[in-house]
Assembly symmetry: C2
Homo-oligomer: 335 residues x 2
């Protein structure tokens, strides 16, 4: 589908669901961005879910988002159960402002929901010449090390830094693969890789539906589990949001708002060494790129580089939409 | 050996090497702490290395460490090639002071060296009721994803947070096992586990000496590599220290000081939700501990809990020292 047409349809749908013109535009752009980045699990595949939750008033169509200033560096955002995209968009802009003023920004967001990709927000900070961490928790998907039941979300760690070229953005879940990929595989009847998830009996499975009822495996056993726990504390506990398995699954649990939390830390990377920062950053990347390549590799990419290339390659292309998702889109637009 | 006797010997040794009484005491306590925590790879096994470097003036016995105040939150420490323990000890105390004053502290340390365990410093922040990140880079040990040559250090990620009981301290290298364990295995003629390192030809090896000449494997392929890269940028690039494989190996490379960097971020975890923080943190841990246990587990421990138990169990016990290391200790003391 032509991007222009898709954008129009998405804006129409969100406005039908009573979102403001501004908010509809922001969300539509993020959903399309996920598709262009090659991350369809965080794009149109979630549209119906967002609409269902707005309809059931679990996501507020017209939230009253409040920003409480704690200091010139620190702010606390109450998202009032807005769709995650909007709360996070406001949050990262505040975190950027704070770091520009003081060298370091810290913004916590409570009562939010799924916000797409952490890299959406990290990229904005990097484009403002800042180093950034984005943390968010998520519905139960991973068993803590030593447990046989899911509790942590796939809790991604996202870190961004300017390079003078495409942003360095590391954005990885603490699970072997992200849950969106399993959901999409389930939706499209595809298999998942071996060794990334267990069924409800604790056996390894490649069946996406069985995996969704079982539990996902964290990276590096206790290390991945510890990192997921860290993210739960940072984005859930200290922000005043739900945590320790209480984030509601947006697809399955309509008993209340998600109550997710996010935490953004922004730092001026020139604060210690001034303009030498970018010089050293370029040296860093160039030394690594020059290393002898492992078998099967012709180049070494830094985190975010491949996604950036994909995005630029797709920037003016039509977006291909699987028939199942296209049907949803048309139904939502026809309502 | 009795702890009292060991402490006396270590203090004597460092003072012979012209370190001040105060600095000798701080370092001796950290080395003994590593042994008591059950991390001998970061304890006495490194004593001779530190002394060799002091003798060759690669570690300054009497450094002039300078703290530059950038704001009430942010400080930059020039360690003047001190032994890492002393620079990091000064750095974390400054980071604690900054966060107590403003809610958030950021301290970069340049021109430093190996500082033992990150948890030494994280623990101090946690005992001051702060949440903390400690980052440090390290000599080349890991191949970046796509490369066949070591460049990143084992670059640990360390995160601490108060719990009301033993500190929650996640402190894990981004490699499958830490390099100190391989060094110690090499020193004591022990094998290393299968699947954690390659020899110089790119084959998996369990021979510690071959592994030291080859490269270690990062956790979760590109994810571990990305995390190690993040740590290199945070502790090396932005602090004004060496980075991208230029940190000198303290055991093998006597061509100059190590020029390592560290970065500490300290946050008041009550800044957003006040005294509810500790209440929620306790709920978080208790929910996770109550989960049904996986096969082979009778309890679920949070990061740092086991080390804390080990430490308390060993607190009044003698320290057992392998004969090879005891010989070094006696030789250094006899000089």
């Amino acid at each position: 589908m032509k991007q222009k047409k898709l954008k129009l349809i998405l804006n129409q749908i969100f406005q039908k669901y009573n979102l403001s013109k501004d908010h509809s535009k922001i969300i539509s752009n993020y959903l399309i961005k996920a598709e262009l980045l090659g991350a369809p699990s965080h794009g149109l595949a979630r549209l119906k879910m967002y609409c269902d939750r707005i309809k059931k008033k679990l996501i507020k169509a017209r939230p009253k988002i409040k920003i409480r200033k704690i200091s010139n560096s620190i702010s606390h955002v109450d998202a009032d159960n807005s769709i995650g995209f909007i709360a996070a968009d406001i949050g990262i802009k505040q975190a950027i402002k704070n770091a520009k003023k003081t060298g370091i920004g810290l913004v916590a967001i409570k009562r939010s929901g799924h916000y797409g990709l952490s890299s959406f927000y990290a990229e904005q900070a990097v484009k403002n010449n800042l180093l950034v961490f984005c943390f968010t928790n998520a519905p139960a998907a991973l068993a803590p090390y030593g447990a046989k039941k899911s509790l942590f979300g796939t809790n991604p760690i996202c870190f961004g830094v300017p390079t003078g070229k495409a942003p360095f953005i590391f954005d990885a879940s603490t699970s072997m693969i992200n849950r969106g990929k399993i959901r999409r595989a389930s939706k499209l009847g595809m298999k998942i890789p071996y060794g990334v998830a267990l069924d409800k009996f604790g056996n390894i499975t490649t069946d996406a539906n069985k995996a969704l009822k079982g539990t996902q495996l964290p990276i590096a056993t206790f290390k991945g589990s510890g990192l997921a726990w860290m993210v739960d504390i940072l984005s859930g506990v200290i922000t005043g949001s739900s945590h320790s398995g209480k984030i509601k699954d947006p697809f399955d649990d309509f008993s209340g708002p998600q109550n997710m939390g996010h935490l953004f830390i922004t730092i001026n990377p020139k604060i210690f060494i001034g303009k030498n920062f970018l010089k050293e950053m370029k040296i860093n990347i160039s030394r690594i790129k020059k290393l002898p390549k492992a078998k099967g590799f012709t180049s070494i990419l830094y985190p975010g580089e491949r996604k950036n290339k994909t995005y630029r390659k797709n920037l003016n292309k039509d977006i291909s939409i699987p028939s199942k998702i296209l049907k949803e889109l048309n139904e939502l637009n026809a309502c």
